[in-house]
Symmetry: C2
Subunit: 344 residues, 2 copies
DNA sequence: CTGAAAGCGCTTACAG
DNA sequence: CTGAAAGCGCTTACAG
């Protein structure tokens, strides 16, 4: 493989000049430029980016740390980040942690040793990972560019891009109330993409905003999965005065709710409205097609990537950003007017 | 940020010795090793991997070029590759091309300029990309380590890991024949993950192996998507002597077939057996749950990663490998015994 | 507009 | 078991 010297020799100039041509930087006369370009082509010269990175101290790489690329949510976010990176000449290192703290720490250490230019990271899904949060803070303290995708920890000193979980839940509940529903249940999990608490908050707030009181018996907790959605929905449907609508923390729980309703002979949406959260691909394929709250997953990744690279180039806005993206209510066939409900 | 010299100075040794300790290479007395380790910790020293890579000429990075990480198939493959990489101390660069030739070329050039140690690549989904195939050959000629995941082009000089498309189709058809089916249709697309032609071959072979003749009217072509599955299935169901089973090129087409059957009032599996290919997550969630042929996606990625890194370390087997992984028949509720069919 | 010199932070033979 | 010297292939001031 040829080096910059070979090119310089062939073109009859110095390596510096070749470097200038390659990097389009500094003055080079048209004639020289031409000679150099010809030499580059003749030798099929490919600059050694590793050497360049070593000298300049920037690797033009960013890392994305997520639990699992196999999860559609993260895959879409990753796609957004990668597109942002590519647009600006950066490359993306993919890191799957399964939410595991040790893995997180290892990847953060890697990011530092490899002189990665910046780091985008999502929260782990189920645990708290205090130790890696601290490490993140330390990196931050060394002014290592970092952006969080979704709320990970309380830190006023890290840029964060998230979706409006409270607002999304509020949207859903407000819609249901508008359809005449009064007994609206919430089924959720304790921790999921950090969104659980905020969604519950949105639920409560929406009820309050419409002069309704939350019935604590209608708020149930479980794991954010299909089977717990099924289990909790069964509980709700067995109540003497059952809810006319169920808002689930996520689509998988909502799909479990559909299964429970089907089994109990409760018709959706005629007798029960069901609404989920996330708008996973499956949501539009189940019967009845699921109404849900969609998050702008791709944009989340794209904006995170863009902001991160702005930070790297020190041309972002002053101070720390906290950007909240709006969710979108997607009404399909699992929600409808409340039946037998007085409207006030 | 401290350098190896700072550590050396603090420990009272030379940089070479520090390097030896870090890389666990060569002899260092226990006492010295200890002093060095202490110094490393005291300075919170992190070796500059970029500098190391520059010197050694190996970046310890591999790149994965796929059409789109958002597609569950590629996401799972990617996960496998990343896990293999991590196990052996390599990092993974993710490259999405959307099957676009220009993007492919750009990423291949990047791989070379960045001195990436190796490249794993899948076929584009819809076009042929001759030009990037040629570039791949060129890289190969420069003995750049490459492994193809799935058949991309005919080349005896590149390692390839693929699944047995012909065998998978053969499995499915043999199963249907065993259930008494004789009129078995095939709906497919012209090009899909390179698997289309082989799956058709498997279909034909299985019929032949059981003394049956393929009825060319039952072999239909379209795009490998839900709506074309629907469209082609409608055509088949409208035939005077309609098939008792339909084998679809992939699950989305099979799901389209289910929709068409539902609409036409044809009961699955009582009146029609339907079998797909891929075992996407959705397959087990539709009604009736879809029988299908599962490919070992994760293993595909894992083995590709492992082989690639073996190649990089020059410790793989001699000559080019072509590894074919077996598929698995997953029987759910969309297939059953043929009705009103004589058994010979 | 062009180049000579120095250096980025490591590792690699080579000595001893 | 340890170190002095050289060099990996670029870019960065500094001159001219």
């Amino acid at each position: 493989m040829s080096t910059i010297r070979d090119v310089a020799r062939l073109a009859g100039v110095s390596a510096i000049t070749v470097s200038r041509v390659i990097n389009k930087k500094g003055y080079v006369s048209l004639g020289t430029r031409d000679k150099v370009k010809r030499a580059i082509r003749a030798l099929d010269y490919h600059p050694n980016v590793l050497a360049r990175s070593f000298v300049t101290g920037e690797s033009r790489m960013i890392a994305l740390i997520i639990p699992d690329i196999t999860n559609q949510f993260y895959a879409t976010v990753a796609r957004g980040v990668q597109d942002a990176a590519k647009d600006k000449g950066y490359h993306l290192l993919l890191c799957n942690t399964d939410g595991n703290q040790e893995e997180e720490l290892e990847y953060m250490g890697m990011a530092r040793e490899r002189r990665i230019d910046g780091l985008a990271i999502t929260p782990p899904e189920t645990s708290e990972n205090k130790k890696s949060d601290r490490y993140l803070q330390q990196l931050r303290g060394e002014s290592f560019p970092i952006v969080m995708i979704g709320q990970r920890m309380d830190s006023p000193e890290i840029d964060i891009i998230k979706t409006d979980n409270q607002g999304g839940a509020h949207q859903a509940i407000t819609y249901l109330i508008g359809q005449g529903h009064r007994r609206i249940a919430f089924i959720g999990g304790p921790l999921f993409q950090g969104g659980g608490p905020d969604r519950l908050r949105g639920y409560r707030q929406a009820l309050k905003d419409h002069g309704l009181e939350a019935d604590e018996n209608l708020i149930l907790e479980g794991n954010p999965q299909e089977d717990d959605g099924y289990r909790l929905a069964r509980q709700l449907l067995a109540m003497p005065e059952r809810p006319t609508a169920i808002f689930a923390l996520n689509d998988m729980m909502a799909i479990g709710t559909l299964r429970a309703s089907h089994e109990a002979g409760v018709k959706v949406p005629e007798e029960l409205s069901v609404i989920g959260y996330d708008d996973i691909p499956l949501a539009s394929l189940v019967v009845p097609r699921l109404s849900t709250v969609a998050q702008p997953k791709y944009e989340l990744g794209k904006m995170a990537g863009d902001l991160l690279i702005d930070r790297i180039r020190k041309k972002g806005p002053e101070g720390w950003q906290s950007i909240t993206l709006n969710t979108k209510l997607v009404i399909r066939d699992s929600t409808g007017q409340a039946r037998q409900e007085s409207l006030s």
